[in-house]
């Protein structure tokens, strides 16, 4: 049962404190610190479920890799490790800016916090753009995106490049190993489900950004920022595992 003071401030009353300073913890908790600790425990449990979810994909990856090593070799080589590496750097930087925003909130540097959240969002968006424009699009369709306009137009088609699609949708004409469709299934399942989590993470960050603008978070209350940070770090961590397993097989 929360008791909000709804009476208007009388003459000489102090200026209304920001929202984070007026935060009332849930009435079933004795202190706000108890609530924060519980939220952290709960969120780590949730992250464990996410790890187990991806565990299924990694399990399938390892099973089929041991069955069809040649296909895995060929598949990994047809991935461009430079784009993957760039995406890795992008996510690592975004994890840094996310952590920086948490630190800024803890020290009540609201503008700096919001700036870092925004940069994190931009990095997340950059990850998705690189993934979609430079990896998914050319592999699936053969259409390459070239912002330098070296081929005249923004998009240009490369014959015999596309068709690298999962399972029965596979139409790439130059595969040497018969199990290539399976490699592409694992690639798309893993990276697409990861990309979905990037989108979810970005939605969380956007919400925190908007609420930070309204003063919801400060040194005494920043639970949601911390939880969003944890989620974003997990998204980053999953990519750290996906990247070498997919891109760096020799």
């Amino acid at each position: 049962m929360t008791t909000l003071d709804t009476r208007p401030p009388g003459p000489g009353a102090p200026e209304k404190a920001p929202l984070w300073a007026r935060y009332q913890h849930g009435h079933h908790w004795r202190t706000a610190a108890d609530e924060f600790d519980a939220c952290k425990l709960g969120f780590w449990l949730f992250l464990t479920t996410e790890v187990l979810l991806f565990g299924g994909i990694f399990c399938a990856y390892f099973i089929f890799r041991s069955l069809y090593p040649a296909a895995w070799q060929e598949g990994s080589q047809s991935l461009d490790w430079r784009w993957g590496g760039l995406n890795t750097v992008v996510l690592l930087l975004s994890s840094y800016t996310m952590a920086a925003s948490i630190y800024a909130i803890q020290t009540n540097q609201q503008a700096r916090a919001r700036r870092n959240l925004l940069i994190t969002l931009v990095f997340g968006g950059a990850f998705l753009c690189i993934k979609f424009l430079f990896e998914y699009l050319p592999k699936w369709t053969g259409w390459h995106f070239d912002p330098t306009l070296a081929h005249g137009a923004l998009f240009h088609f490369v014959e015999g490049y596309g068709g690298k699609r999962p399972g029965s949708l596979f139409t790439y004409p130059f595969a040497t190993d018969p199990h290539m469709p399976l490699w592409w299934s694992i690639y798309y399942c893993g990276t697409a489900i990861h990309a979905l989590h990037v989108v979810i993470g970005m939605a969380l960050i956007a919400r925190v950004y908007v609420r930070a603008g309204r003063g919801h978070y400060g040194p005494s209350h920043y639970t949601m920022v911390e939880m969003t940070g944890l989620y974003w770090h997990l998204v980053d961590l999953i990519w750290i595992f996906l990247f070498p397993l997919l891109y760096l097989i020799h």
């Binding site: 079933h28 479920t49 996410e50 299924g56 099973i63 089929f64 399972g167 399976l182 399942c189 489900i193």
Partner: protein, 608 residues
């Protein structure tokens, strides 16, 4: 209740106090009907959420039960194709004994069984995903876990409400699939059939998505409970002062959190396989259908312990209270619960002995025997608790005894299934069907019935009619045994499961089983009648009708909105019947046994 009767009090805008200033019960309606509906629809009160789950689960139980009645009706007679030649020479073929007409495709036995296949899939999917997995944790667990810990609510009340709505949403997906014609794959959705069956895409996908969404409800509930047990215990309550019901719910919650994501990814991959043919379960593309079975059972085996552990948790409570005796071997039972949860992750292969190598099968068989040990420890401890107890013969105790009997049979019949040599004969036969019905229904559902009757006075503030309830319990018990014991014989004699028809020699036992199912229906209808009568005309319940010692008996019947008037402090163990007067009882009504030895210096005997 018109708005004129209830004074709108600006100091009590949420109407938590009644006219005398006492706190109102959580069931008290609001000023208008729609205000009450809105209150229940947006509540974060674990009690209301638990009650809503309870009624949804009981409703789904009747739905799944209706499907079971249909299955048993079909099996009354085998399907016979009778060819007769009239004197004029024309030959007519007639199909008899087939209750569910074939599809438009034809009248032959094959496609006709499609309807039967959809009905048993419906039965399995509803019972597993919408009834048994959430049954005790979501209903009684939600209601009583916080109260038993002395808390005002679970750790994340809003997440609890989300779990409820996700459960509804997932159930809607599944029911939609059924309305659109259902799915004929069996609740296990084995590949390659589930990815190639001619049931339309969207029916299969909807059913699988329904199960996927329901998984989220399970995960969030489990997460909530784990954090609640860690962080919201009352002052003075250490881990070993908690009621064993809490230990059981906690162990089940740990499994829910760890295992459910695996079925999540499995079902997601199954949907991709079905819709995009990605090939990981398709041999033509290099995939492996047995991989699906491994993924599926990696979750589905631990989940059977999610089903049974809370049932066992209830038995701890009812057996202690209704024999007024301390549970024998508290720590053994607590650690056994955790042990079962841990070992449950290691034995999934015993569902797939015929799909694996001999070495793998041997390892899984050995591990399966291991999980029987903590289970047996619990059963022995319960019997030891009953010994020299002051046993009250009422519905909760009756269901407890029924549980002990039926679950023991179920557990023991798991052994020939876990043994490789006998399993080769019994795999996919009616023996398996009988085994899992004994543990799931004879175990969990009987535990649920025990718990509902034990806690009914607390939840609804009304007593139920004891004699009719006990008669209903006996009818359920007899009906259950007739229905399912006959199925053990059917299984050993070779009747395969999921078959709509059979050879003539099995007909008698099938008919016995079908008659048993009618008795079961009668028993449960009687229970429904007892519940409705209690809610409408039941005697008001006292605070502590059974003399329990756990915190829920310190709360009012039914509890007020924030459970307790003052935060309870844990001053005695949950089963210290020898030394504690139950809350709400007058000491003169509860003579404690005389001390057989002088109390040592400095020891305080707690008198509540």
């Amino acid at each position: 209740m018109s708005t004129h009767d209830v004074p709108h009090d600006s100091h009590d805008p949420r109407g938590l106090h009644d006219a005398h200033g006492h706190h109102a019960s959580y069931l008290a309606p609001k000023e208008t009907f729609w205000a009450t509906v809105k209150d229940w629809a947006t509540t974060v009160d674990h009690k209301k959420i638990g009650v809503m789950y309870l009624f949804a689960i009981l409703f789904m139980f009747f739905l799944g039960g209706a499907a079971a009645m249909a299955v048993r009706l079909e099996l009354w007679e085998p399907v016979r194709v009778v060819t007769s030649t009239t004197p004029s020479g024309t030959t007519t073929t007639e199909v008899t004994g087939q209750l569910f007409a074939a599809d438009a495709e034809g009248t032959s036995i094959g496609p006709g069984n499609n309807v039967y296949n959809r009905i048993f899939t419906l039965h399995g999917a509803i019972m597993v995903f919408m009834v048994i997995i959430p049954s005790i944790p979501a209903s009684l667990g939600n209601f009583f876990l916080p109260i038993m810990l002395g808390a005002k609510d679970v750790a994340f009340p809003r997440l609890n409400l989300l779990s409820w709505y996700v459960y509804l949403f997932g159930s809607i997906f599944a029911v939609t699939s059924i309305i659109l014609g259902g799915v004929d794959t069996g609740w296990t959705f084995y590949t390659p059939y589930s990815t190639t069956t001619d049931a339309q895409h969207w029916r299969v996908v909807f059913m699988i998505l329904g199960a996927f969404i329901l998984g989220f409800s399970s995960i969030l509930t489990g997460l909530n409970f784990v954090v609640t047990v860690h962080k919201l215990r009352a002052p003075g309550m250490g881990w070993f002062d908690m009621p064993l019901f809490v230990w059981a719910i906690y162990s089940a919650a740990v499994i829910q959190v760890l295992a459910t994501p695996v079925i999540g990814i499995t079902l997601m991959l199954l949907v991709f396989e079905r819709v995009f043919r990605i090939g990981i379960f398709d041999p033509a593309l290099g995939g492996d259908p047995v991989l699906y079975q491994h993924f599926f059972w990696f979750y589905s085996h631990p989940v059977v312990y999610v089903m049974i552990l809370p049932g066992m948790g209830i038995i701890n409570e009812t057996i202690a209270v209704h024999s007024r005796k301390k549970i024998f071997g508290y720590r053994a039972i607590a650690f056994a619960s955790l042990g079962i949860a841990a070992v449950s992750f290691l034995v999934w292969g015993h569902h797939m002995f015929t799909s694996m190598s001999e070495l793998a099968s041997t390892v899984f068989s050995a591990l399966t025997f291991l999980v029987a040990i903590p289970t047996a420890v619990k059963v022995f401890n319960w019997i030891a608790t009953l010994y020299k107890g002051s046993i009250a013969m009422n519905t909760p105790m009756l269901y407890t005894l029924i549980f002990l009997f039926l679950f023991s049979i179920g557990g023991l019949t798991g052994l020939p299934l876990g043994t490789l040599s006998t399993d080769l004969h019994l795999h996919d036969s009616y023996f398996v069907v009988a085994h899992f019905h004994y543990v799931m229904m004879g175990g969990t559902m009987m535990g649920l019935m025990a718990g509902i009757h034990h806690w009914w006075p607390k939840m609804f503030g009304k007593m139920y009619a004891e004699k009719p309830a006990m008669i209903a319990a006996l009818i359920v018990f007899v009906g259950f045994n007739i229905t399912f014991f006959s199925q053990f014989f059917l299984g050993t004699q070779g009747m395969p499961r999921r078959y709509a028809s059979y050879v003539d020699e099995f007909q008698f036992l099938h008919q016995v089983s079908t008659v048993g199912s009618w008795l079961l229906l009668l028993g449960f209808l009687l229970h429904a009648g007892v519940f409705i009568h209690s809610l409408t005309q039941g005697r008001p319940a006292p605070q502590n009708p059974w003399g329990g010692l756990t915190f829920e008996w310190e709360a009012a019947s039914p509890p007020i909105e924030h459970n307790f008037e003052h935060e309870p402090i844990c001053r005695h163990g949950p089963y210290d019947f020898e030394s504690t007067v139950p809350p709400g009882w007058k000491p003169e009504d509860y003579p404690l046994p005389p001390a057989t030895a002088p109390v040592p210096q400095g020891v305080v005997v707690a008198r509540h």
